[in-house]
Assembly symmetry: C2
Amino acid sequence: MVKFASSVSGMRSSEIRDMMSLATKPGIISFAGGMPDNRLLPVKELDDIYSKLTDSEKQKGLQYGPTNGLPELREALKKYLQAKGLPVSDNELLITTGATQAINILAKAFINPGDTIITENPCFIAATSSFKAHEANIVSVESGENGINVDALKEILDNLCEKPKFVYITPNFHNPSGALCPLSVKQELIKVLTHRDIVLIEDDCYSDLAFDRKGDADDLKTIKSLNPQGIDVCYIGSFSKILGPGLRLGWMLVPKYIYDKCELIKQPIDACSSSLSQVIAEKFLNTGRVKTYVESVVPLYKERCNTMCTLLRDLLPNGVSFTQPKGGFYLWLTLPDNIDATDVLKRSIDKSVVFVIGKTFDPYARKNNTIRLSFCNTSVDDIKLGVPKIVDSIKEVMSIN
Amino acid sequence: MVKFASSVSGMRSSEIRDMMSLATKPGIISFAGGMPDNRLLPVKELDDIYSKLTDSEKQKGLQYGPTNGLPELREALKKYLQAKGLPVSDNELLITTGATQAINILAKAFINPGDTIITENPCFIAATSSFKAHEANIVSVESGENGINVDALKEILDNLCEKPKFVYITPNFHNPSGALCPLSVKQELIKVLTHRDIVLIEDDCYSDLAFDRKGDADDLKTIKSLNPQGIDVCYIGSFSKILGPGLRLGWMLVPKYIYDKCELIKQPIDACSSSLSQVIAEKFLNTGRVKTYVESVVPLYKERCNTMCTLLRDLLPNGVSFTQPKGGFYLWLTLPDNIDATDVLKRSIDKSVVFVIGKTFDPYARKNNTIRLSFCNTSVDDIKLGVPKIVDSIKEVMSIN
């Protein structure tokens, strides 16, 4: 047997994998997955777009494209991002094979084995996996209902022997915590990071899924759109939540010098992202269907979220807390310190309900008293059936009858 | 400015990039690209397949799939590979985002910085780039009209201080050399590698494009299908040449212990390959359209190849040699030792004809007296116009009038 490279080990949580396999079994009510509901995917829109493609566009979809993305998609996406206030003309856009690849390319760009990088805790698991695969020394900073704890971050930065290469955060509708980081916290974060020569990676896959776009307009502003001077912000986005993850399309909007490296890195990884997906995504953008589609599904996610929150508020025992999400896919439950989420999960599985324990999203897998509930992929009826069973399981573990 | 990781440098030949950009200009006759002809891509077949997809299949195409690939595609591909004699039941199949990703994942799996690996010389440039990106010590072995020089390989293996992790070869219709490695050479190679604990990566993206499938049946056998005992063979294939590169779909068929690592590695790279592409590729396989499509285009590639060979035989001066390709996309010209291919290229560009100089495919970029001519993406008429101009350019540099 040939020896593997040293960096290849334990990159994926087997817990997540087992959970996902369980989650797709018939009869199981799942709050585990972070994917859109199959029934809500834009099939009609896809049909409509496909039916209008010319032969030449279909040829383009079957052919190699430039590594940085099809020019038509890059143009359409620039307009889309510009309308959201993002500084597209001062930065370069790289189309990637999902936001996951964007994270992975940035990890490759910056991390030498042993380099320190900073994440939130909890953190998106594919990001943690990618940073571990690049043998980063991960330092994680507490992230709560207002996003990253900036004071804690500042203290860490002031005391670290080695300067971290980057800080990776998901300020809008965090996965898994669901939190929307308020504008004031974003502004504090900018202050702390300015002129430190630390890149900020802003993962923004969920902000289009705001339940109250107007009411939360200020807090929804991305850090990249604030265009802070003195910090290199790498902004990551995705078509997965606004169109369909099966297309495997995401992007990064980054300073030119970082773009140049990242394009070089992408070339031997997969040459280019799916051209067929890119042709389709371009049409979704240019026909305005992304906007109308998102506007049609967000109220459904909101209804699911509200149903879940109402049930939890009515049923949860004292000592278990959560913050009502303002958008996105996830709700984060915090149990009392001494309550083991794995015990709750086991009892829920006995009741045919699954979710993911919060520990999975802790880079160090330490404390085990949190739970991620996805409301994106479960009908209102199933939420009404499933949530009480989770509450029952929590009560059992807390010995409350 | 934040310092990049040390491994990120010079991963793509700027020569190739410039050439590709030149190759797509109007009025230019290009023998540069390694992509199928747009006009030959299976647009009608795609329409037919799309029109028959159910809503549930379209949903699947828009949704995340398992990291190792959609079960339906894996089953269809297993049948396809089994019919070609590949040992699918003793191995595991991983769907990848193009063969390029398969190479990149295997590089990640095996290469620690400084590890020795062996390639052919010349070698597929994306493979070389990937191995360099993983900081491999690349040792390359001469590869000619009969594929890798097995004696030279044996000598290197016997004399290397450090055992290489793997040997990477493209035995069937090599990119760039076009060579079909005869069965006898494959058998010698097996002998040399048996029980050495060195993985063999067999890149087989072109073997479906044989001009005389029956006549060359023996030589077309893949090493993996010979199922040699005592060597772990990682077999790589792609839909790019038999369906369309824009789908970004390839695969690896590898021993279980290697598959397990590679699936782990793929997860944080891009989660899964495009589901939409996978749904379509499965239909191409299960409806038999891959077979009928390939059978319809191979005679066209053969005609282009024959046209090119006839012209070259008629026009080339003494001292310039080539072997007539038996399939694939490429023809390899060897100029006299003292003739500089870059000079020939410059003069060809002045005549509005482009190709890629052979040095681009040399991991060390040393000798510069070879030329790769792609016949896959150029019409017979353009071949008749373009090849004489290349010959004229060669004659000019050789000072022959």
